[in-house]
C-alpha cells in the first residue's frame, strides 16, 4: 500500500519522540564555550535554542573603571582572532568623542593592520569551516600556515602574537619599520598563491558543495530584520559594507569591491569570505604603495578627559559591523561603554537557519557564521 506524504508525517509523529541534545558547552565544534540546545527528531533539528554567557567577563562594566587608554587591552579580548580590529573600533570611538585628529601615516598603518587582520580572521574561519565539515585538520593546518605569516608580521610590529594592544588613541603605539613594510609587501605578493590553492581545492569540491549548497540558508529579508552584518549579510545578496557606505579612516581613497552572493547559504558565506581576502589584498597593495612618512601618534593629554557627550563609532570588522558606544562625563574613565558586537547579532537568526536541517548541518552552519565567543559574551 502506498502511503501519502501526510499519513507518513502522522506515523513519524506517533512512532518517534524528539529528544534534547545539548551541543556544547564542551564540544569540539562550538568554537569556544557555546551552548546550543537542540531538539532532534532522529537527526532532524526540530528546535534550536542558543544559550550563551559562559565566557562573560563583564568587560563593559570593567571598562567604566579604567582610563580611556587602559580600556584598549580589554578590547583585545573581544574577537581574539582579530584583536587589532577591536582596538581600532574603540580608538575611533574615543577619537570621535574627544575630537582627535589622527596623523596620515597612522591612518595608513591602521588600514594595513585592519586588512591584515581581516585576511587572517577569514583564513582561519575557512580552516575551521572545513574542520566543521569533517576534514581531519588538513585545511585547518594549511590555513594556520598562512595565518602564521600574518602573525609574524604582527609580532614584528607589536611584539605580540594574539592580543596586540597596538592601537592607541590618536594613532598607533609604534611606527612601522621599513622591514615590516617590506615583509608585508612580500606577504601580499605571496598570498594569492595560497588563495588559488584553496580555491582549487575547495570551491568546486563535490563533497563540500553537496554539503554546503543550500544548507543553513538565510533570506535577505530575515538577515536585514535580524540586523545581520558582514559576510553573513553579504552572502544573502545585500550589498552593504561600512568601509564603502560610511567610510571611516581613509577607506574612501582605496579601490575595492564589495563581494556579494545570492543564496545566503553556507557555500555563499564561504565564497564571500574568500572573495573578501582577495579584496583585502587589493587594499593592502594600495595602502603599502601610498603610505607616507611622518608621525604615527597625535598629541593629546595623558589622561584624556573628553567633553561631556556621547559617541558611536562603527567599523567593518572581519565578522561584521563592530560598533562602540561611549558616554563621557568629562572624567578620565568612560561613563558608559557598550559594544555592538558583530557575531552576537549574526548568531541570533541561527535557529531560523537550522530548523529542518540535520545535525551535521547545524555544525557546519555554526562554523560558517564564524562566531568568536569572546565577542559574543564579552
Amino acid at each position: 500500500m502506498v502511503q501519502s506524504l501526510d499519513t507518513r508525517e502522522e506515523i513519524i509523529q506517533v512512532a518517534t519522540q524528539p529528544y534534547v541534545l545539548n551541543i556544547g558547552p564542551h564540544h569540539p565544534s562550538t568554537h569556544g564555550v557555546f551552548h546550543l540546545r537542540t531538539v532532534l527528531d532522529g537527526e532532524v533539528i526540530v528546535d534550536a535554542e542558543i544559550l550563551i554567557g559562559y565566557l562573560h567577563r563583564g568587560i563593559e562594566k570593567l571598562a567604566e573603571t579604567r582610563t580611556y587608554t587602559q580600556v584598549i587591552p580589554l578590547t583585545d579580548r573581544f574577537d581574539y582572532l582579530a584583536s587589532m580590529t577591536n582596538n581600532l573600533a574603540y580608538c575611533l570611538a574615543v577619537e570621535k568623542l574627544a575630537g582627535i585628529e589622527v596623523p596620515e601615516r597612522a591612518q595608513y598603518l591602521r588600514v594595513i593592520l585592519a586588512e591584515l587582520m581581516r585576511a587572517s580572521s577569514h583564513v582561519m574561519s575557512l580552516g575551521f569551516l572545513m574542520n566543521d565539515l569533517g576534514s581531519l585538520f588538513t585545511p585547518l593546518f594549511l590555513a594556520a600556515r598562512e595565518r602564521e605569516k600574518m602573525l609574524d608580521l604582527f609580532e614584528m610590529l607589536s611584539g605580540q602574537r594574539l592580543l596586540y594592544n597596538f592601537m592607541r588613541i590618536g594613532g598607533v603605539s609604534q611606527d612601522a619599520t621599513d622591514l615590516f613594510l617590506f615583509k608585508a609587501r612580500q606577504f601580499v605578493d605571496q598570498m594569492p598563491m595560497y588563495l588559488n590553492e584553496i580555491d582549487q581545492l575547495l570551491t568546486e569540491n563535490e563533497v563540500f558543495r553537496v554539503r554546503a549548497e543550500g544548507t543553513g540558508a538565510l533570506s535577505a529579508e530575515d538577515a536585514i530584520n535580524f540586523s545581520c552584518s558582514g559576510p553573513v549579510l553579504r552572502a544573502c545578496g545585500v550589498d552593504r559594507d561600512i568601509r564603502r557606505d560610511d567610510p571611516y579612516l581613509i577607506y574612501d581613497r582605496f579601490d575595492f569591491d564589495v563581494i556579494t552572493c545570492q543564496n545566503g547559504d553556507n557555500y555563499d558565506r564561504y565564497r564571500v569570505r574568500l572573495g573578501e581576502i582577495w579584496q583585502s589584498l587589493r587594499i593592502l597593495d594600495q595602502a603599502l604603495r601610498d603610505i607616507p612618512s611622518g608621525e604615527v601618534q597625535a598629541k593629546h593629554p595623558h589622561f584624556l578627559r573628553p567633553p561631556v557627550g556621547e559617541a558611536f563609532s562603527r567599523i567593518e570588522a572581519p565578522k561584521g559591523e563592530l560598533g562602540f558606544y561611549l558616554v563621557s562625563d568629562n572624567s578620565i574613565a568612560p561613563y558608559r561603554f557598550h559594544v555592538r558586537s558583530s557575531t552576537l547579532i549574526n548568531l541570533t537568526p541561527l535557529s531560523k537557519m537550522l530548523i529542518g536541517w540535520k545535525l551535521a548541518d547545524a555544525i557546519l552552519t555554526l562554523g560558517s557564521i564564524d562566531i568568536v565567543l569572546g565577542e559574543i559574551d564579552r
Binding site: 508525517e9 502522522e10 513519524i12 509523529q13 519522540q17 524528539p18 529528544y19 534534547v20 541534545l21 564540544h27 569540539p28 565544534s29 531538539v39 527528531d41 537527526e43 532532524v44 533539528i45 526540530v46 528546535d47 572545513m130 574542520n131 566543521d132 565539515l133 569533517g134 576534514s135 581531519l136 585538520f137 588538513t138 585545511p139 593546518f141 594549511l142 600556515r145 581545492l201 575547495l202 569540491n205 563533497v207 563540500f208 553537496v210 554539503r211 543550500g214 530548523i355 529542518g356 536541517w357 540535520k358 545535525l359 551535521a360 548541518d361 555544525i363
Partner: protein
Amino acid sequence: MDAPVFDNWWGHFLLFAPICIFGALTFLLLFLWFDRRYWARYQIRVGPNRCGPWGLLQCLADGLKMALKEDIIPSKVDKFLHGLAPLLIMFPVLMVFAIIPFANARSGVVPDLNIGLIYLVGITSIVGIGLLTAGWASSNKWSLVGAMRSIATMVSYEFPVVLSLVGVGLMAGTLSMNGIVEAQERNGWFILLQPLGFLIFFVGMMAETGRSPFDFMECESELGCGVNTEYSGLRFGIFQMVEFMEGVLMSFIVATLFLGGYSFPGSQGIFPEGALGAVFGLIAVMIKMFIVYIFLGWIKCTMPGRLRIDQWMGFAWKALLPLSVLNLIIVAFEVVAFGGAPNFPAWVLFINLPACIILIMLWSRFWTTGGGRINVRAVRQGHTQGA
C-alpha cells in the same frame, strides 16, 4: 598439490602462533608510526619524532599511556555491556586476519579456509553489533547517535560490498581466499577484470570501516567522539586501535581480492616452493597492502569533509546498490559465456573497463545525494515545550 600440507597442527601452532602474534603486533605499532608520520606530511607537520629513534616508540608510549590511565565507568552505564562492547569490536577484526593469505597455502605455512569470503562477510558484521552495544550501554545521547549512524551505515553498505564480493567469487570460481589469489595469478588481477566491482567494494569498505569521508561513527566535529564518548583508559585505546586495524585489514583484503594478494603477475613457477616462497608471498602482499593504505591515507588527509547522513544513505542505496547488481549481472554473463573459472579470458578487461566508466557516468546523472530541508512543523507541535 591438491590439499594444504597441514599434518602437524600442534607443531605448527606452537611455532607460528608466537611469531604471528608478536610479529603482527610489532608490525602494527610500526605501521601506526608510519601512518602518523605520513598523515603529518599532508598537514605540514613533522609528526611524532621524539620518542625513540625517529619517534618509532611513540605509539608504544601512547599505548602504555592508554593502559595506565584511569578506566572511568560512568555511574549510569550498563556495566556488563559497556565492558563487553570493546571486545565485541576488537575480536572480529582480529579474527578476519586469520583468513588473509599471506602466502600460498600450498607452501604449507599458512592455512586456507574454503569458505573465506563468507567468513569475511559474517565476521565483519559482528563489529556492528559491538558498536551498537557500546552506543546503547553508554547511556549517552552522543554515543547513541553515533551507534545508530554506524548501524545504518553497516546495514546499507553491506549489500553493495557483498554483491561485489559475489562477483569476485564467481570470477574465481571459489570462495577460498587462496583460490581467489590463484585465479588472479592465472587470469589477471580482478581490479582490471572487474573495475566496477573494485570501486564499489573499496568505497563500501571505506564506509564500513569508517574511514574519512565516511567517518560518521567517530564524527569528531559533530558527535564529540561518537560511540566511544564514554570510554576512557584501555577501552578507549581499544577503540582507537580497532579503528586503525580496520584500515590495515581493509588494505589487506583489497590487496588480496583485487590486487593479486601474495602473487605478482606471472610469478607462478618463478617464486620458489615451500617456506621460502611463503616469505616472497608475504613481501608481495605487504607491498600491495602498503600501496592501498597509502591511497586510503591520501583520501583521509585530503578530503575536505564528510557527507551528511541522508547523503551517504542515498549514496549506498541509489548508487552503489544498483551498480553492484549490474556488476554482478555483467560478471555472471561473462562467466557463463566465456567458460568457467580456470580459463577466464583476460580480455574481458576491454569490456568491463568501458562498462564501468559508462555506468558510473550514467548513474551520476540519475540520482541526487540526499534530501533538502524537512518540514518539521508537524513534529514540533506539542513536543518542544518542556522537552
